[in-house]
């Protein structure tokens, strides 16, 4: 049947923009009957993985990528086939999606994505379709199998627990965070959803050992090269020195200070300054394995004891930039526009470093910023506060 | 001139007088307009009006005001300040030129008299020009309107016309004129208000009474 359909499509000389039912009306009566009947049957056939990977564009690109992920092979043996995620589960969506897919099939036939390079160039656009669709239906296809109510948060990592509980509370769309879960992400994520894309855009690549870089957003830290044991979280715009590069993992060194009241989990950029560099799990914070301790000092301003520390951990290879200025430019424009809706935003140097968190946190409910951007803007404000410039 | 001929353009005269008064209450006089009143045809006009028994008081007051004003450095500005002080304020301080203020129980703007004017204009297929944008019971709009009715009626004064002058104008203009005297300034507009009140009263009496022979 596949061949028949392909043959039929080949006979039309001009593609219709509105492929949907254009195909039905073009051609003659007989063609119409065959096609219509064919279409319905085609609908069922196209609804199988076998059909999808019939075209090399799929089998050579995204099918291969899928096989590297947990949606292909995992502990429980439950896997997803192409239609499970990509064919909408409700009827009208199905039709609409099919129509669009026909365009892609069409595209294959007429050579718009028939080479790897062309496919890669178009990946962003194709991905965006799916992201938009999943966003619009609140990731319905994901939730056909993955159910918030059935999740056991207690066996998740600490960071995952925090994020997933928040997501569950809002019945958030899975695709918001889990892009790239089954196929590679587009090289250039400028069509990525919202802020995450914009932040990732600022990351550079090709890190060199011994050089310092800055995180573009909040990133998980790991104890091991295998990136399996969580060690904490790196904040946005934190300076790290790359010590080693091993494939998709890099070892970094963070030079920081911490308060020794409590568990000492939070890392700060400098003595007596509440500029958040990240935090460690209780285990890592209390262990000697990943940290060397330096001088201790008391901050007269608060009476709290501080300690210099040098922390060495692993993280994923990526999401670092060699220039903090690009981050600052982005943060400033976000600050200026988000924070001037109700009042003129205070000048950065209007407050000192340690006053900014209080001011900033109090205003967050009035703006729509995601966690990464919030962290970045706060750090920007602190690093341009009156402690670092001439107060006005 | 025969009686008929004389009668022929009597309605034009009436309409012109109503329209002239409308103009006075529409807005302040600019520099050129003021000149016409202080030394040109405007002054002549008022002077002549002063010869009429019924219009005398108002006209003389206006003339006296003009004399006082002309000696100032910016007479038209002074007069504009007078205009504002009397008309562009509220009823406690001055004399806002809207029927609602004098004819409604609350004394507020845009009450039933305003509604009546809106309905009337709508029925007649008329609307206030966008530039003026005043509530429809503004004196200038009422005077403008009645001038049009007079021209339309020509020498056959309609009951509608009499009705309007009596119910929509004479019902409040005398009180309006009295209110203008709350303010003490050059006296030009107080005189104009008095003249207006007297003219309407006289005009109504005239159109109601049968035409007397000479």
């Amino acid at each position: 049947m596949k061949q028949l359909i392909k043959k039929f499509w080949r006979t039309f000389s001009t593609p219709s923009v509105h492929l949907s039912f254009g195909l039905l009306t073009m051609g003659g009566f007989i063609a119409g009957i065959i096609f219509w009947g064919g279409f319905n049957t085609a609908l069922e056939v196209t609804n199988t993985e076998e059909f999808c990977i019939g075209c090399h564009e799929m089998s050579d690109n995204v099918y291969v990528e899928l096989q590297e992920t947990v949606h292909w092979q995992n502990r429980s043996g439950v896997r997803a086939t192409c239609p499970d995620c990509h064919v909408p589960h409700n009827w009208t969506d199905k039709m609409a999606r099919k129509m669009q897919a026909s365009k892609e099939v069409w595209g294959a036939i007429f050579g718009t994505i028939d080479t790897r390079e062309k496919f890669l160039a178009k990946r962003g656009e194709l991905a965006q379709h799916e992201w938009d669709r999943l966003t619009a239906n609140n990731s319905l296809e994901c939730k056909n199998c993955h159910n918030y109510d059935s999740m056991d948060f207690s066996i998740m990592s600490e960071r995952a627990q925090v994020q997933m509980k928040m997501a569950a509370e809002r019945d958030q769309s899975c695709i918001d965070c889990h892009k790239g879960i089954a196929h590679h992400l587009p090289e250039n994520m400028n069509s990525g959803e919202g802020m995450l894309g914009k932040l990732e855009e600022m990351a550079t690549s090709g890190y060199q050992t011994g050089q310092a870089y800055y995180s573009v957003r909040q990133l998980p830290l790991f104890e091991d090269q295998g990136l399996s044991t969580e060690a904490g979280q790196l904040n946005a715009a934190t300076k790290v020195k790359v010590l080693a590069i091993e494939g998709n993992a890099i070892q970094v060194e963070i030079d920081a200070w911490r308060k020794t009241k409590g568990f000492g989990r939070v890392l700060f950029e400098d003595f007596a300054m509440n500029i958040n560099d990240g935090y460690l799990t209780k285990e890592v914070a209390q262990s000697d394995q990943f940290m060397t301790q330096g001088e201790s000092k008391t901050d007269d301003l608060t009476g709290l004891p501080w300690q210099k520390v040098n922390v060495t951990l692993w993280m994923r290879n990526g999401s670092l930039t060699d220039s903090r200025d690009t981050l600052w430019t982005f943060a400033k424009s976000t600050y200026d526009s988000s924070c001037s809706v109700c009042h003129t935003q205070p000048a950065e140097a209007h407050f000192d470093t340690n006053t900014w968190p209080g001011m900033f946190n109090g205003m967050l409910s009035f703006v729509n910023l995601d966690g990464d951007t919030q962290a970045l803007v706060l750090k920007y404000l602190q690093k341009h506060s009156s402690d670092f410039s001439d107060a006005h | 001139m025969s009686e008929m001929q004389q009668a022929d353009n009597w309605h034009e005269t009436r309409a012109s007088l109503y329209w002239w008064l409308a103009t006075l209450f529409t807005k302040e006089l600019d520099k050129d307009e003021f000149k016409r009143y202080s030394s040109g045809e405007g002054r002549d006009f008022i002077q002549q009006l002063a010869a009429d028994d019924e219009l005398q008081t108002g006209a003389l007051a206006m003339l006296s005001a003009l004399s006082k004003l002309t000696v100032l450095q910016y007479p038209e500005l002074e007069l504009a300040a007078d205009f504002s002080q009397i008309f562009l304020t509220d009823k406690k301080a001055g004399a806002p030129p809207y029927a609602s203020v004098y004819r409604s129980e609350s004394g507020l703007m845009m009450q039933q008299p305003h509604q009546d004017m809106v309905n009337l204009l709508q029925q007649q297929g008329l609307a206030v020009t966008k530039d003026f944008n005043e509530p429809a019971d503004h004196i200038a709009i009422q005077l403008d309107y009645i001038g049009n009715v007079i021209m339309r009626d020509a020498e056959q004064v309609s009951p509608e016309q009499i009705d309007f002058i009596e119910q929509q104008l004479l019902s409040w203009v005398p009180e309006f004129a009295t209110a203008s005297h709350k303010v003490t300034n050059s006296g030009f507009y107080q005189g104009a208000c008095d003249l207006l009140a007297q003219f309407i009263k006289a005009d109504l009496a005239d159109i109601k009474a049968p035409v007397a022979s000479v």
């Binding site: 809002r170 809706v341 | 329209w19 944008n133 309107y145 049009n148 007397a212």
Partner: protein, 821 residues
């Protein structure tokens, strides 16, 4: 009329009248099809959402929006705002200023005629003045940054329009803080890490479920929740109703600590703890003393979550510098609460889950930082911060705080800042040593004493030599203190521009007055529910702008046009394009969380409902993990002692909360022998500040002999021979006013209330002239709360009053400017 007379008149008219008759005022129009009853539209306001019936171009009827289950009676005053006789109908310029510009006789401000000008002329004058001030002086001479409660609507937010247009032209002096919470918002970041006053609080359901005791400390939510910053939903009232039932069933004890029996107390029928005015801190210090001495405080909580308790407690136990032990007996002598009652009160607070709810009026006094700080210290000692129904809140009376947030995003607003901040017509940003930002309530000080250096929140501020001020939807002749001092200041300003829709006293004291239209004469969009994020509401234009008024958008576009930046100012978009853009932005921000219809459907339906949100406890995350979820204080912990403030070395605000005697205080305090009455000027019950005072019919529902009511005690009245309904002259060394007496059992001896927002109307412009309507700020003190916040001190005010005899001067506050002289 005789024929001879007719021909006489004909003759005159024929010769002269022709040139004197101007163009007609009437056009031919299509006879409109009569709509039988009119059209219903949706709109919003600070008082709530409503549906309005518009017929024949007039707003005929207003009824509450169906989603609002507790509409306020103030909706009845809205028509009166639109059709108020105090509406500014045309652009007007003060006559003497028109003639002499910046060299005008400034002593005439407030008592001068105005002349009408065209819009073009008015904007030209405005622009010319901006040019003159920037070139002749510099950015330090222009102050265009004061804010008010504006009208609702995010596109036409008047402060945004003024700021954007003026910022595109040049630099100017800005302000920090506000009159509502100046002291509170400055001190709380040092103590609890955020302003606290503009933050969502523990959800009401959790308070109702968990609190055993609720302390309303100088707090009147039933009165204040009638209005909201955005379109108010009044959802809080459902919870207050539940609270009332729980009080009746004795499930929750509510105690109102207040000199006055508030509207809330009367509504809830709850307990009252009388306290002498301005003495809350001694009361709280004695509570702390009891908690400490009787070991009722939570030591573990303080060790884990707070810093500085050891540095503070000696002040309480008498081992501090002043060597005074803050016993309940010591406190009783000042605050009037019996020592044993103070002890019982402390024990009660420690016994069960106790929720403290503070109002804002308490920090609008001298040393207003102290009661808030001390409240936090008591809450910390109780150890319930971060527990549902425990701890302390400073805002449950404001804009639906306490109603759980849905988490939905609201529409943004017309941008306040220029798109290209460096690309101004006048690039000069040299303030010549003057500060470019001043504490909001110190602008009169700046005008009277330019160049003076003051301390403010750790910095030194050099007050700029202001020459020109611009006010947009802002009425400082309502909210600032000491009118006679303001008159002096206004003698020094060269030019004052005011944009508003009604003749407030600020407009009467200005030189150029530009008529904006009301929010119901334009299209807009607003968040429905402020902090609850309940929904989005369409503000469908009810009628076209009245008279010659224009939207703020148009007004400032015209200004921008003068310096060639119209396109940049509007971004090429008109009103509805902006409304749609804000809506679409909101849809995008809510994508995946809340489904919203497309703009056309939204505008037709009138609103989008986001439902209700989940319950939430303030500071619970801090309590759970104080390291990761550190507070925004310098240390990250609760600071009972603040080393940072201590280092400032301010006499009137030191390292920990303290009791400072006030400059003037009733009930045995300084000055009370001469002026024995404390004048409370809290937020009104039947207005939003000064908004709606000009609504004639509505004002008539509370005015007494046409004046603002003064609520007084029966015994005080009797001693002065005053009966209910009499005219009363209220006075102190700063000024005098006339008000109408209302004798009320809610008011104890030595206490009187005149609600703020009463329109100022002096008999003339001389210093000391009596105010004819009853504006309490004629009498209040213009002094910074302390060197920390430099905030307003309106409630530090003592007066005396007497029966007014003789001919009462007419009220001059309403209906526009008058020349009294």
């Amino acid at each position: 009329m005789s024929i001879s007379r007719r021909s006489f008149l004909k003759g005159i008219v024929a010769t002269s009248a022709a040139t004197l008759v101007g163009p007609g005022l009437l056009n031919v129009a299509k006879a409109a099809t009569a709509d039988s009853a009119g059209q219903w539209k949706v709109s919003g306001s600070h008082w709530g959402a409503f549906r309005a019936r518009v017929y024949a171009g007039k707003v005929q009827e207003i009824k509450p929006f169906e989603a609002d289950k507790y509409p306020t009676e103030m909706l009845n005053g809205i028509k009166g705002i639109i059709y108020s006789p105090s509406r500014i109908r045309y652009p007007m310029v003060r006559y003497d200023w028109y003639l002499k510009r910046h060299k005008s006789d400034t002593t005439l401000r407030g008592d001068n005629r105005f002349i009408r000008v065209t819009w073009d002329e008015a904007i030209d004058l405005f622009y010319q003045e901006l040019e003159r001030v920037q070139t002749q002086y510099g950015p330090w001479a222009l102050h265009a940054g004061q804010t008010g409660w504006r009208q609702t609507g995010q596109v036409h937010s008047c402060g945004n329009h003024m700021e954007r247009a003026i910022s595109m032209h040049g630099y100017s002096v800005k302000k920090v803080g506000d009159y509502s919470t100046g002291a509170g918002q400055t001190i709380m970041p040092y103590v609890l890490g955020t302003t606290e006053v503009y933050a969502q609080g523990t959800s009401w359901p959790l308070i109702l479920e968990n609190s055993k005791t609720i302390i309303l400390w100088a707090n009147d939510p039933v009165k204040n929740l009638q209005v909201g910053w955005n379109c108010e939903t009044h959802e809080s009232f459902a919870f207050l109703e539940q609270l009332k039932a729980k009080v009746a069933n004795k499930e929750i004890r509510v105690i109102s600590v207040d000199p006055v029996k508030t509207k809330t107390q009367n509504y809830l029928d709850c307990e009252h703890k009388y306290i002498n005015p301005q003495t809350d801190v001694p009361f709280m210090l004695a509570i702390a003393h009891t908690l400490y001495k009787e070991k009722l405080y939570d030591k573990k909580f303080l060790d884990t979550y707070a810093l500085g308790f050891e540095d503070f407690i000696p002040y309480v136990t008498g081992e501090g510098k002043d060597k005074v032990e803050k016993t309940p007996e010591w406190a009783e002598a000042i605050c009037g609460v019996k020592a044993d009652e103070i002890r019982d009160f402390a024990r009660l607070m420690a016994k069960h889950r106790t929720q403290m709810l503070f109002g804002w009026a308490i920090q609008r006094q001298q040393h207003g930082e102290q009661p808030y700080w001390m409240g936090a210290v008591v809450a910390a000692m109780l150890g319930q911060i971060g527990l549902p129904g425990g701890g302390i809140s400073y805002a449950h009376h404001y804009s639906s705080i306490g109603v759980p947030s849905t988490g939905a995003a609201g529409p943004g607003a017309f941008p306040r800042n220029p798109d290209k901040p460096d690309d101004r017509i006048h690039k000069n940003n040299d303030f010549k040593g003057y500060s470019s930002t001043i504490p909001v309530a110190r602008w009169v000080d700046a005008i009277i004493e330019p160049g003076k250096v003051i301390n403010a929140n750790g910095a030194k501020i050099t007050l700029p030599d202001i020459k020109m001020m611009v006010f947009s939807g802002c009425n400082p002749w309502h909210h600032h203190q000491d009118r006679n001092r303001m008159k002096q200041a206004f003698h020094k300003l060269e030019t004052v521009v005011a944009v508003d829709f009604t003749w407030t006293a600020t407009c009467r004291f200005s030189d150029i007055v530009l008529p904006a239209c009301t929010q119901w004469e334009r299209n807009d969009i607003d968040l429905y529910g402020s902090y609850s994020g309940r929904g989005i509401i369409a503000m469908q234009k009810l009628v076209d702008p009245l008279y010659q008024s224009k939207t703020d958008f148009e007004i400032f576009t015209m200004l921008a046009r003068r310096f060639g930046k119209e396109k940049e100012y509007t971004q090429g978009k008109g009103e509805m394009a902006w409304v749609k853009e804000l809506y679409d932005g909101c849809v995008a921000a809510n994508k995946g969380k809340f489904e919203m219809p497309d703009f056309a459907k939204f505008w037709q339906d009138g609103w989008v409902d986001f439902g209700t949100g989940p319950n939430w406890t303030r500071q619970a995350d801090f309590r759970k993990d104080p390291e990761i979820n550190a507070l925004g204080t310098p240390s990250g912990f609760i600071e009972i002692f603040s080393r940072k403030i201590d280092r400032y070395g301010y006499e009137d605000c030191q390292g920990h909360p303290m009791w400072f005697e006030k400059a003037e205080r009733s009930h045995g305090g300084p000055g009370s022998d001469k002026h024995p009455i404390w004048l409370q000027s809290c937020h009104p019950n039947k207005r939003l500040h000064s908004q709606m005072c000009d609504s004639e019919e509505f004002r008539a529902t509370y005015a007494v002999q046409g004046r603002e009511p003064i609520y007084i005690n029966a015994g005080d009245a009797k001693a002065r021979g005053i009966n209910d309904g009499d005219l009363v002259r209220v006075y102190n060394d700063r000024g005098q006013l006339l008000a109408g007496a209302v004798i009320s059992e809610n008011f104890p001896p030595g206490v009187a209330r005149i609600e703020e927002g009463a329109w100022y109307g002096p008999t003339d412009n001389t210093i000391g002239a009596i105010d004819t309507y009853g504006d309490p700020n004629t009498l209040t003190l213009d002094k910074g709360s302390s060197q920390l916040a430099q905030a307003t001190s309106a409630n530090t005010c003592i007066v005396n009053y007497e029966k007014f005899t003789g001919e009462a001067p007419a009220v001059t506050s309403f209906g526009g400017p008058k020349e009294m002289a």
